[in-house]
Subunit: 408 residues, 2 copies
């Protein structure tokens, strides 16, 4: 969109009028290292909200609680989130801790009960050090501000094995009024469909009916976080939350108007950017590979092919080795369960043919080699079967990933 201003690596949510944020260190990891580990997001005005949660059956307590809050459909005032502990597989005590976090945040912000979402990320199966978390929430309440400093601290506080902060702010105008959409996220390992170990918190000063916000968030998530993979795992804690406080005075209604198109573009830009930051910061990766499948019988078949390729260990290790081992790509496509005729399949590295109607084009070997040495390239398959397509951002797999994840 021409009139959209995109600022990557912005302060994030503090850019959105009416939102105050804070990030504090309360030693959730018990390392005494002063690392930021608790973030608070607050809107004095009530917000409409939408959210997407992990489909993992072993969902963490904060996911269960936030899902329940969203279901009640009240007005919302904020989010409290921590890193260093996932509060997952923690039973009744874990749920009690998640409720304590929400209640303390609500009380501190002067917000009604049931108006603050909870997010957690980190190791599974350990109870939170709830005394330290409580102290952290109290400190965060005092520090709430709309300054860039607190925006950055909040964005840092949700990181785990991430190597860099992930924020973006998008601004556009509607009928002379400025509208802001900003987001912060954490990613790193365990990234696959259904948003594995990722948190994304997005705020806007537009307002819209909850059903409209939810539909737009669903679409944005499908095209962003659910179209990346690092290691194929799906976590217990994945959460994307969108809060809309209406401070801009701009109100989005149902139907396809100019404002709908603008907001969809802005929300899409925020989530696409955060998703790309997440995959690019996958644990110990060296490459991001776009897997683009077209001509499948349907989108579902295209997704199967893309994911089987993007999650194949043999494919990922060959990418790491910068080996144009297209046989592993073709084999993964065949193993995906998608229906197609291998003798019609075209395969490309970027735009350089590898297979044309199933026939290898080895005269292009030198060009393949040059492409797979790049930090980012595209593997494109056209199955010539139907109109289904899917785009996946995947990564390579390194010894560093293995040694990094041997223990926690």
């Amino acid at each position: 969109m021409r009139d959209m201003k995109i600022q990557e690596n912005s302060p994030g949510l503090s850019d959105v009028p009416g939102f105050r944020v804070a990030g504090v260190a309360c030693d959730i990891r018990g390392q005494g290292d002063g690392r930021l580990d608790l973030a608070l997001v607050s809107s004095a005005s009530p917000c409409g909200a939408a959210a997407v949660f992990t489909r993992n059956r072993v969902a963490a307590a904060p996911v269960a609680l936030s899902r329940e809050l969203l279901g009640r459909g009240k007005a919302f005032h904020g989010i409290v989130a921590n890193s260093g502990n996932a509060n997952a597989c923690t039973g009744k005590d874990g749920m009690s801790d998640a409720k304590t976090m929400a209640r303390l945040a609500e009380q501190g912000m002067g917000a009604p009960p049931g108006s603050v979402f909870v997010g957690s990320t980190g190791r599974i199966g350990r109870l939170l050090p709830i005394d330290r978390v409580e102290a952290g929430i109290r400190e965060a309440v005092v520090n709430l501000a709309s300054t860039p400093e607190q925006g950055e601290r909040a964005a840092d506080a949700i990181l785990t094995s991430d190597t860099c902060r992930k924020t973006i702010t998008v601004r556009f105008e509607h009928e002379g009024r400025p509208v802001t959409v900003a987001g912060m996220a954490k990613g790193a390992g365990m990234i696959q469909p259904d948003m594995a170990t990722m948190l994304a918190f997005i705020a806007t000063d537009l307002t819209a009916p909850p059903a409209v916000l939810q539909e737009m968030l669903n679409a944005a998530v499908a095209a962003s976080y659910n179209a990346i993979t690092v290691d194929g795992d799906m976590s217990t804690n994945d959460t994307a939350i969108l809060l809309a406080n209406g401070e801009s005075g701009v109100r989005l209604t149902e139907g396809e108007g100019e404002l709908t198109r603008k907001f969809r573009a802005a929300l899409g830009a925020v989530n696409d950017c955060l998703a790309e930051k997440i995959v690019s910061d996958g644990e110990k990766i060296t490459k991001v590979v776009e897997v683009l499948v077209t001509g499948a019988a349907d989108d579902s078949d295209a997704e199967k092919v893309a994911r089987t390729i993007g999650n194949s260990l043999l494919v990922k290790t060959s990418w790491y080795g910068e080996d144009p081992n297209w046989g592993r790509l073709a084999s993964s496509a065949g193993a995906s369960g998608a229906v197609f005729d291998p003798e019609r399949m075209d395969l490309f590295y970027n735009d350089v043919p590898v297979l044309s109607s199933g026939v290898p084009q080895p005269e292009n070997l030198a060009r393949w080699r040059e492409i797979v040495r790049r930090k980012k390239f595209t593997v494109r398959l056209d199955l010539h079967t139907g109109r289904g397509s899917f785009r996946l951002l995947a990564t390579d797999l390194t010894e560093g990933y293995v040694t990094y994840n041997m223990s926690e």
Copy 2:
């Protein structure tokens, strides 16, 4: 079975009366290193046959040819197989080469056209050096023998990244007559359901109608090669072939008699042993972990849980690190798509409780640590939902796997 004599690491197919085998070096890899790379199996008497092939849509030429031969349902006389080149994604020339291999073997053995199966394994997408393969087949024909030496040479000739020969011979008696079932296999990387990059050739001197042989091979494959995983990939070339030449004079008919039970046990023992040898020789692994899921809604759900755990990179790396990170196990179970209530799930390392009705049992930490240091242990989940169960043999994931597969 009490009266079954099992000899692991036997000479393999040369143990079966009426079968002659050979293994020769014909430099398929072009390295000039004298490595054995072509195996021939021959029975003068016509054999009944059964076979199971990869379900990969990008099936190699030898798979397509062998599947076609089996479909014609004639009597069979042998198998010609090579390592070092998969003859996959090789188009019409590749199919022509596979047919040439079969024809030369048939002519050399004095067998009728369409009576010899073909198997290949190795790199995808390159044409066979067919002149050298032809010379190899001619040499193998001359060397055919029922000696242990040629049995071992044939078993060695089908290996790729395997570190050891994989053979077994099982003998039993029926009404005073000795019956032999023997097998040789290759495995190593890319091992997952549907028999990824594995070849298994089994011979017996019993005879039975093809439909009976096929049903018994299907059951044996489902319980063996399709219940192991190294890296979750499924190859273009997986093939299991059973040849039955009837030389023992023992004939198996339909229905459940004593002979059926004996042969099923013997065939199961051969395939289970070869499958365990394959998973234990997975590329650069250090551990074999049995994932046992019970109490699932049905067997399909149990399989989903077992495979999601056994293929999770985070789980596999934690096994390598000897870290009792059961949170990753629980998260993978939840991510599998199987239907269950996490608050009823029991989880064990061997027989030591980890989760009881979803509640962690951290007082057992020292015992978990001791178990996960072993070369082989069991992860058991009881979902308390239904009667479905599945057993999977899985491996850890090491830096060695990554570096080994960076290039070929």
